[in-house]
Amino acid sequence: MKRKIAALAAAILASVAVAGCGIAGDSDGAQREKVRLMVWSPSEDQSKESGEWLQTTCEQFAKEHPEWDITFVYGVADEATAPGSVKQDPEASADVYMFANDGLSAMIDANTVVKFGGKYAEEIRATNSPEIVESLTKDGEIYGVPFTTNTWFMYYDKSVFSEEDVKNLDTMLEKGVVSFPLTNSWYLPAFYIGNGCTLFGDGTQEELGVDFGGENAVEVTNYLIDLVDNPNFRVDADGSGIAGLRDGSISAMFSGSWDANAVKEALGDNMGVAALPTYTLNGEEVQMMAYAGSKAIAVNPNCEYMVPAVELAIYLGSAKAQEDHYVLRNVIPCNTELLAQDNIANDPLVAAQNRTFNETSILQPFVASMNNCWTPVENMGKGIRNKTVTHENAKEQTEAMNEAMNSSGI
């Protein structure tokens, strides 16, 4: 298998070299290679109202490569569901598609994603932060071209909280109402991870398992029990957070960039965005740590026209494409050059997301055992909300959660 892939990679590199010569050779375009590329993206990327980012970028790509006569076929599949759809039938799927990095392990197992090697890998490394590249790396190989980061942070009402206040959750709770999705296991671990709990060692060592037990985890559980009792705290579930921002009953909530427009509408000029705050545990400040991931562009190994597909993936993740994506659809770029540009660096949303990604988050592990970690945490959150987890049984309940996270439940 490995050898096959290596051979494939070599073939790509070789044919790039050949194609490179080809351009210089025949400028009359008579020998243009006919290429058919199927590209999948979320529907907003293709809608007229948001500027047809995908079509425009693909056309530009075709213009830059006159040696190929490319026919694009577009399909709709968002980053979360695309890996599953490709896996269902890799041969009849997109050549180039977008995915969220938490699906990477499954994609590699199903052999639905190619490695980027040689000059492509160098380019990806050169234009992205090491954390992002790491989110798409397994066993030293890069599997996708990143185009945005994926995490959550805090929205708050500037008229209620000052920039000093939003550094600490407990300070905020004294001044206004804060809502947190306590029953959502994508958010809740932020408290535990902040206090030293770990998932699979550095996130890739599956054999080490999860450490959500022990004294530090029990402390967090106790903290959360008190948090729920705080009259200024609301559990955010089924969209109650954003609804609270709208009617003014809530002044801060935790969510991601997908809610940015709704929050802007609700708060207007008072909209504040910040990275995750700390919380005070036994007198000490503990930093909340979110799960973070990336969204990236993958190439299907069953693709017939490998070189154009890989080139297109790189092009869709390039600085130019990311900038258009940001302008048209507010997709937060991750290209390091772009992030240094003034107009982007000054956007508070971009700043908050990137600060969260770089400083107050851990890479969401994408090892297969991670699948066992969601339900126990969610149950813990629900238990705390429903007050079945109390100070008396916090220790047992935390240990039970830890045990459940470390077993497949079968």
């Binding site: 529907s43 109202e49 968002d78 759809s85 269902q88 954003i242 609804a243 709704a262």
Partner: protein, 290 residues
């Protein structure tokens, strides 16, 4: 004495009726409540999936208008037409299959009759979506998973297994006296003529029952549509569209439109049921009386 007795019996009946009606009223409220809530939500002017009040603070028709005008992300009109087309075609096809198979099993005697009925019984024990992936690959081998042919694939999917769902219709045909058939045979009718000219006109209730269920299945199906449509957004059915409206990126702005969509898709079914309900009940209770 006797007057008093009558009075107390009346009184008793009155009390009984009152209790029964109160209980029924409470149950009716509980059952209708979610539907009422969806309808209210579909007219709600405030955005978002969560509201603190049961009754919307203001009402609007925008959610419905948006469904049909804002086709940028989710093309609802197209999905609606796709679903309607698929549902009507597979309704016609599978009604025919069901009635024909039921008639054969009820009236004809052939070697495979018993084995076929046993097989259908056993196959019916397995959920249809078990074969989902296999069905997909068979359709792909036939070249039906690209472009407009997806609609044909869906129609085949929904009507293909209809021959196994004959039990109720067969039970109905069994209640039509065989003597009617025999009389027709003597008069020179062929089997087809008996089926189309005698049995079917006598079986209005069960035809309507069959048509209704055959229409409902594709109209509300999600799994097969999802597996077969994949990334072909122009072929999506309503179920997929409604599901997508609840994804985290869309839920906040599309939630009220989702409710509007839910109301809209229930309208055709509701109309069918209301206009056909008296036959529906007859269909399940047997054919020729007396």
């Amino acid at each position: 004495m006797s007057v008093k007795k009558e009075y107390s019996a009346k009184r008793k009946r009155f009390i009984n009726n009152t209790i029964v009606h109160v209980i029924l009223a409470i149950l009716a409220i509980i059952w209708v409540f979610p539907i009422f809530w969806v309808i209210l939500t579909s007219f709600r002017a405030e955005k978002g999936s969560y509201v603190s009040t049961f009754f919307p603070q203001s009402y609007t028709l925008d959610n419905y208008i948006r469904l049909f005008t804002d086709t940028s992300i989710l093309n609802f009109p197209q999905m609606f037409m796709n679903t309607l087309f698929v549902a009507i075609c597979s309704c016609i096809l599978s009604s025919f299959y069901v009635l024909a198979v039921s008639y054969c099993l009820s009236r004809l005697r052939f070697k495979m009759r018993k084995p076929y009925m046993n097989m259908a019984m056993i196959l019916g024990l397995f959920p249809g979506f078990m074969s989902m992936i296999a069905v997909y690959f068979i359709l792909k081998a036939l070249g039906l998973t690209e472009g407009n042919l997806i609609r044909l694939a869906l129609i085949l999917c929904y009507s293909g297994s209809a021959g196994l769902g004959f039990q109720i219709a067969k039970g109905f045909f069994d209640t039509i006296p065989l003597a009617v058939d025999e009389a027709a045979l003597i008069d020179g009718c062929s089997r087809w003529q008996i089926f189309s000219k005698i049995t079917l006109p006598l079986s209005k209730p069960i035809i309507i029952y069959t048509v209704l269920t055959a229409f409902m299945a594709p109209w509300v199906d999600f799994i097969f549509a999802r597996v077969i449509c994949r990334a072909n957004a122009d072929q999506y059915t309503v179920a997929i569209g409604l599901w997508r409206m609840l994804e985290k990126e869309y839920i906040d702005s599309w939630y009220t439109s989702f409710a509007a969509g839910a109301v809209l898709i229930s309208i055709p079914i509701a109309i069918l049921f209301l206009s056909l309900q008296k036959y529906y009940v007859d269909g399940l209770s047997g054919a020729v009386k007396g």
